[in-house]
Amino acid sequence: MASRQELSDFLSSVERRAFKQAVFAVRDDDTALDLVQDAMMRLAERYGDKPAEELPMLFQRILQNRIHDHFRRGKVRNFWVTLWSALRGPPGEADDDFDPLESFEAEEGSQAAESTEDRVASEQSVRIIEEEIERLPTRQREAFLLRYWEDLDVAETAAAMGCSQGSVKTHCSRATHSLAAALRSRGFKS
């Protein structure tokens, strides 16, 4: 059974990556924070008595389910919003001003040792990579992030995604190729 300290360590280690994963999927900071918080609460309430080594897979599965639920609810919501907008007239611009770069604000002074030029280049690289991760198809992005960023093995990734191990390998392979091609097209050297 995971102790309080083990759960605390796990949540501390995973919270930022979980947030980024959610942002890649839903493209909204506040929604992503809500999803991560929901996933953390559910993990603690339902699986807080599980061994510490099972926490990563369980948490990722919960988080992915939360993200999918968000999109399912969104479909229903969008149906009524679209209907209402059609009755009221042309759509506004409330949803068109999303800027994915907003979520990548760097803290001032955190890169003091780097030269300004290097820092800007580095931040720009990170931003471009994150943009291309966001553009990946959902399942490919999930597989890539779980397998390589969360460092789950193929079986754990399959369990977290609720699919076969073969599908995980296929999604990872396609994601890697798509990402590499996209980054090459944006000026990264191959």
């Binding site: 309080r4 759960l7 603690a44 280049a121 990579i129 990264f188």
Partner: protein
């Protein structure tokens, strides 16, 4: 555009190098989250830990209650152990037997004392003369003569 070098496809080794580069860029992005986000994540973690503590306390209380209920149902800790129950059962029986024995002993002793008093009275000639005139007493003396 940048200094990053990505080398996709063909061999697993180069794919690993590529994914490592992407992962390190993702790590860098995660490290640069604004305070507003990291603070809320921290609060979410604390809330989750509090929830775990509450759940574990509830589970612990339920387990204790179940154990107590089970032991009561099985005659466990709330009932005396087997030696105590044997002792409590056998003690009254032993007391009754001891009482019977004591009553029998006391009866025998009283009867012996009574006989001894008569013998003593005869031997010390404290028997009245009229007693010898009693036919039954004469028969008694005749039968008990050594």
């Amino acid at each position: 555009m940048t200094n990053h070098s990505f080398r996709p496809t063909r061999s697993s080794r180069t794919t690993d190098a590529f994914t490592r580069s992407v992962v390190s860029a993702l790590d860098a992005g995660a490290e640069r989250l604004p305070y507003r986000i990291t603070h809320r994540l921290q609060l979410a973690s604390q809330a989750a830990l509090a929830a775990q503590t509450a759940v574990l306390e509830t589970v612990g209380a339920n387990v204790l209650a179940t154990v107590h209920a089970g032991s009561r149902a099985r005659g466990g800790h709330d009932q005396p152990s087997l030696p105590w129950r044997l002792l409590v059962t056998l003690l009254p029986v032993a007391a009754i037997i001891a009482g019977f024995v004591a009553i029998a002993d006391i009866g025998d002793a009283l009867e012996a004392d009574e006989t001894a008093e008569i013998d003593e009275a005869v031997l010390t000639d404290e028997v009245p003369i009229s007693a010898y005139a009693d036919h039954g007493f004469g028969v008694f003396l005749k039968n008990n003569r050594p």
